[in-house]
Symmetry: C2
Subunit: 425 residues, 2 copies
């Protein structure tokens, strides 16, 4: 580990938060952090609802959990962000330092030595800004980011924890839905809508099922071309499965979901993104029915993709755990303003291995990694072998899941009680 | 086994078909049938696409599979109807016997001694009609129905094979989606749409998660009452989960899905049912957003509910297998016009046990079993303990599922080749 080190001071208390959209592996990272804290006698404190919980004084004591193997195991198998999440964007510190002053005062009150934030590119923006502000005021507090997102769109990392489990769920569901769709002796087209606003990483995972055609934001399409592809396939098979990213668009740049008539939420979130954008599959199913004349169906996998703890990639859960543990090590090594990351050390699928590293969080902040153009087929509707080789090792293994009375068991949500007197926590 | 017996003749060839909507357990019944055939040296033949495949001469040889334990195991873990399905309604034989003559000629050509049909109440109509016609012409061929449907709406059976696995998946997903929905520190309502046109059995399974409110076709609701319930819950919790049947309706009898603007298929199927009727959750999410003003989300579980082979109830798979095997025994005992069924012999949840029986198929044909009114709470939005006690034993155990390279493995679909020369099959 190198550069951006700050004055060494033993870490007694570490504050951890989760931010952005949940994944099925984000709690495995929290678990890795808590276990490493216990190992190094660090007292872990959690923010409820991310950085918003820090500002509004919703902190909880995680010491007992960090030492309880049964609770840690349950935590690792629990979907969504156990600590809660937020979508809070810090202002430009050059323009307004009010909230920064508040945050650093709070961190001082709670005797926090290191802050770990598990999130996506927006969260790395938060880590980068807090670290820079801390350095500017001579604070010894370290800020380390821990990557997560089902979108797999972070730069400077081979793949993002959370993505492999979502990819495994998507490929499994598409494989199952393909069987379901093919049951009748009639021509039909099924459009399966998969999460991904700007990138098609998750939708592309349907190539493992395999889906017949894939429509991703990286490759805007003409509906005519899609319908031609479908009609060609229907000559030799009953059922065509089209996997479509929620952010898929036509060659004019218009997103298909913009044509859907009922949106539950069509507003911008605090980062300026469209808050919800489902409907692409319904729009295409209606168009295809009118144009091709056969039975069509639209299926939105919606948030099941990131919530399905009952089927996760063991590889992903282990890596998510490790990347969390590595972030604590980075804080112990007096790093700040970094994100824990990994690179693949072998391109050979059979000898898949990762090397854990650090990268400057500001390099990841607000950046988006799209699917490489060279991994997409010429016609734009298929993934090349390079992508398959990249994805295959990531979904290997099934993480254990406890069942009780026929249902998966999760760790009970945190109690609402917050730490009232930080000194006695 | 009693009554409706026909002249005894050794069964040499048995024809089996699957009909109606697929389930994750329907192939376990097929598996039970094939294993029992092998045990009794019966030659099994399969109809592709149900009775339609019989009429159009799409029959396949199942002898090799019936003796192959590895293929049988894969078949049991494969979702959807492996033989294919149809929604074909036989005409009233009093009005038109053309198709009956064709079917019985075909059965004679193929030397079929018994026909087993795995399906729902429409399929029992088929079994009932074929058996009655056969008896009227003095045919020795036996016709036995094997129950299946995720809807759990068959009469004269404790519960329908396929329902427990769908119920387990629904309860699991609702439990996971509840965690996902509750991640932000803001008020939100999530509407999860669950299959069920006329009955709320599957939607009611969300009570195990538990969903906060349940809206089922058996209890038409006033939107005002629903919104009041939601607003009361939002006073003490951030997130409200509403499970809603696709066929849910208001007190005027109008289905909420009828208000949805984009339908992929709004036509009647051959049994006179609305062929597709999704959209209820979107309609309610939009209304609730306008009325309550908080974030809302609509999630349709769609066909994932019946296709999710990766998480099935071991109890269900074993029962589906048994009920198929029992149907072969019934045919061997020279029964006809019956459906194999079971009743619960103990009302005590801890000592759950079934007794396998036969029932006249015409009693089940076209009938629908709704949720008993006494299992629904007074306000109509919750399930009483009686329902929970009924459902709990059904979802117990997780059926094994083979994974290869990180994805579940299914039996390859049947080859298109049909038996050309039945005598040499």
């Amino acid at each position: 580990m190198s550069s951006s080190k700050i004055t060494t001071r033993r870490i007694k208390r570490l504050l951890v938060g989760q931010s952005g959209g949940p994944t099925a592996a984000i709690n495995a990272s929290l678990c890795g952090i808590l276990k490493t804290c216990a190992k190094h006698t660090i007292y872990p404190v959690g923010m409820r609802f991310g950085i918003e919980g820090l500002i509004t004084n919703k902190l909880i004591d995680l010491c007992a959990i960090s030492k309880n193997p049964i609770q840690l195991q349950l935590l690792e198998q629990t979907p969504s962000s156990w600590l809660g999440s937020c979508r809070y964007k810090l202002p430009d510190p050059a323009k307004d330092t009010t909230v920064y002053e508040k945050i650093f005062l709070r961190l001082q009150e709670y005797h926090i030595d290191a802050v770990l934030y598990i999130g996506g590119n927006d969260s790395m923006d938060t880590i980068s800004k807090l670290s820079a502000y801390g350095t500017s005021i001579g604070s010894p507090i370290r800020f380390i980011g821990v990557p997560k997102t089902i979108d797999n769109d972070l730069t400077h990392i081979d793949h993002t924890p959370g993505y492999p489990s979502a990819a495994k769920f998507v490929a499994t569901m598409v494989k199952e839905l393909q069987r379901d769709a093919d049951v009748y002796c009639l021509k039909s087209v099924t459009f399966i809508e998969i999460m991904g606003r700007e990138t098609g990483w998750l939708c592309a995972a349907s190539a493992l099922a395999p889906a017949d055609l894939i429509v991703i934001p990286e490759r805007p399409i003409a509906l005519n071309d899609l319908f031609k592809q479908i009609q060609t396939l229907l000559k030799t098979q009953n059922t065509v499965i089209v996997a479509i990213s929620e952010g898929a668009r036509d060659t004019t740049g218009r997103m298909f979901c913009e044509c859907a008539s009922i949106h539950d939420e069509q507003t911008l979130d605090s980062f300026g993104h469209l808050a919800a954008m489902s409907g692409a599959s319904r729009v295409l199913a209606a168009s295809a029915k009118a144009r091709i004349g056969c039975k069509t169906r639209a299926i939105e996998l919606s948030t099941t993709q990131r919530a399905a703890a009952h089927i996760t990639s063991l590889t992903d859960i282990e890596e998510a755990h490790m990347v969390g543990a590595y972030a604590v090590q980075a804080a112990l090594a007096a790093e700040t303003g970094k994100m824990s990351t990994f690179k693949r050390t072998s391109t050979d699928t059979s000898s898949y291995q990762l090397e854990y590293q650090l990268v400057d969080a500001h390099l990841v902040a607000n950046e988006v990694k799209q699917l490489p153009a060279e991994w997409i087929s010429e016609d734009g509707f298929h993934m090349k072998q390079e992508f398959i080789d990249y994805l295959k090792p990531l979904i290997l293994g099934e993480a254990p899941q406890n069942f009780e009375a026929g249902l998966p068991v999760f760790l009970a949500p945190p109690k609402v009680d917050c730490i009232q007197n930080p000194k006695n926590a």
